[in-house]
Amino acid sequence: MSTATTAIKPVMPARHYLNDNYGIRSWLLTKDHKRIAILYLVSITFFFFMGGLFAALIRLELLTPAGDLFTSDTYNKLFSMHGINMVFFFLVPSIPATLGNFVLPMMLGAKDLAFPKINLLSWYIYMFAAFFSLATMVSGGVDTGWTFYTPLSSGFLRTHVALMAVGVIFAGFSSIFTGLNFIVTVHRMRAPGLTWGRLPLFVWSNYATSLIMVLATPVLAITLILLAMERTFHIGVFDPRYGGDPVLFQHMFWFYSHPAVYIMILPGMGVISELVTCFSRKRVFGYSFVAFSSIAIAVFGFLVWAHHMFVAGISQYSAMVFSLLSMAVAIPSAVKIFNWTATMYKGSISLDTPMLYALGFMGLFTIGGLTGVMLAALGMDVHLHDTYFVIAHFHYVMVGGMVSAYLGGLHFWWPKITGRMYPEAVAKLAAIITFIGFNLTFFPQFILGYLGMPRRYHAYPPEFQVLNVLSSAGASVLAVAFILPAIYFLWSLKYGPIAGDNPWQATGLEWQTSSPPPTHNFHEVPVVTTEPYHYGSDQEVTVVH
């Protein structure tokens, strides 16, 4: 905890959003963005651990070269369900629907999101989608891989592909609603004085994310509806036996799923901007460059999808165009990393848990991003495509980057959400274990990939075993690192020390109200007169209550 704790023992406010109302109805029919955030938090945590369980079983099977623990079909279902659960039910909603939902309106000085009912509806649609996903799992699972490539998925598999597709389509609708809500809220509900140039970077990155959600997600729905129709009615779009083109599916799928990668990582980048500034007590270095790089990533993100298809039989010249554009998307990411690093220069840095996760993000995302450049380089991708190198690359971005940012943000705003602190020492330990376990799990996979081990292999040649054993060992360490926070967060709900309104001495508007906040966030509408991150002693907190 911050060293600047005041002598006065912090107290819980008498009334706040958690005790304003009791009972199951007050939760299931709530229109409070903070409560909806918590509904989302519980739901996605469930899917995170379920996806994690599948991952654990995958790593267990891969301890030995022979496929001896599960049948091939079961193994194929395990990696498919791992991917589908993690991508569509955890990563996509993770930061926007939980931390974003909770914090974004408060950062704007707003009472709620623009459309509170649509916000609740978005959670119900998510749960409806989750029901389909669970129904698919209970009835035997799917073995399409999370990418649903045709014609395998449309004409050759006997599992419940259409059922799962419906689940994913609805999960998409829930994220469209969240995106829509964020866009309108950012445009219409900023507090007096909160100009675009004063928006916290977390808002900028969630705004960019929302643009992608609204523009790209419908394409996923179209693609999966066509897939389901191809399966049922043989309409002949993707399956060559009926006159379709299987590569068309890949174009359509990646037109959503590549921008979706930025749906997943951009909010994480927003969290890092908040954490690095707060724990360095610094203004962010190059505010407008960091803000616009989010928009640049969102825009370029739409123009790079075919880099997933360099060996899929597309024309060589289009491959070159997509390779060049993929290089372009690396630049705004690099700009962000450099600016965060520069922010720490001459700062007053404290290594509280959220900062540890932020530093982990910066290191791991750098590796994830640079290996992405390797994959975008045409001549290199031919060898690396569909090997474990790709798996390692996107786990560095998604787990090393995104999950680190998510956990960092969760620790950072936990006192705001619950009014209580988590145990700092254990939390630091968990952050360090995450870093070690993560690298042990995924670094060997880079080498495995270059050696040529293809992804989605149930059994593999014996010479790959040592690296696979290392990776599985790392996965068990990582499991501990993820279970620990689940335990101490729950513990802190009852036993955590009272946090006070602003335990980190942070400047964001969300810290200028009580912890937990009142139902309408602020007792009086805050007025903003300064730039964000106005750290430093000469500036007073400028929000009037």
């Binding site: 079909d73 990418t147 610094k282 505010y287 700009v335 975008a376 031919v382």
Partner: protein
Amino acid sequence: MHFNLPLFPEQASTIAGQVDAFYLFLVLVTTFFSLLIALLILFFIIRYRRRPDQEAEQIHGSTLLEIVWTAIPLGITLCIFVWGAVLYYKIENPPGNALEIYGVGKQWMWKFQHPGGQREINTLHVPTGRPVKVTLISQDVIHDFFVPAFRVKQDVLPNRYVYSWFEATTPGSYHLFCSQYCGTNHSAMVGQVIAMKPEDYAEWLASGKAEGSLSSMGEKLFQEFGCTTCHRPDSGARGPNLQGLYGRPVRLSDTRVVVADDNYIRESILNPNAKIVQGFQPIMPTFQGVVSEEGLIQITEYIKHMGTQESEPINNRTTPTQLRDNEVPMIQQELQQGGQPAPSGKKP
């Protein structure tokens, strides 16, 4: 367990060394920037750790620095792009003198056919020191032809021929993986590529049982399916003359001009009405489900070997099945001007 831990797969093709060199360069760039960031972070958290007597110094930013760290990565990634594109161009385009081998992927095996008619399953024998072009097609879902030791990979699609080429340098046996997820036994769709010295390869070819060369097998099928009834070089022919067809431009009934390559021939057998040659009626029945992928390859190979037309198309019905090379620019010019080219053949 093997405790020998290599970092690179074997280098067994002409391209492998070039890919590894590029990889090393990329690893260096990645390591340099990752270390740069990591060391800066480490230095800052030690040097600027929070102390009660020291406050952070507020800095707004620096446009100069922003330009520098935008321009440098941009320059580096552009170099990476160019290097990668040049390498890709080499990997993707087989030299003209390559030995042609055909491969068919199906759930869950690889079937290969050599020009001499030798067939093998999940094993591919190739000579060293000579470019080999593998023409690939899938019978069902998408597979992927991946030989790590050669650093080549190509998705194998249903309904369309794709190509992969390599020139093996070192005799040996190398992994062949299917690297595109293809269902239940995806990880069992593995095999080996056996690279042999040219003389050993010749010996192996000679010892292999073959019913005849691919083109002779194709000829047999051509007779069997009654293709000769219509496709023959005389005035009564109801189908275009196929002699010397392969590789030449063909004018279609909608005035488009396409090149008669493997994919065109395959499509014309399975879906004859897709592209009708100008001057002919859509009367050919489909052979979908009648000819196997191997059979299609054999027929194509036969058509390839059907002899060349030196000056005039042998088609004495004056129907220009094939365009002569000097006609093509003229037709393209006509098309650009929007005028319909005059039909040069009689209606049958």
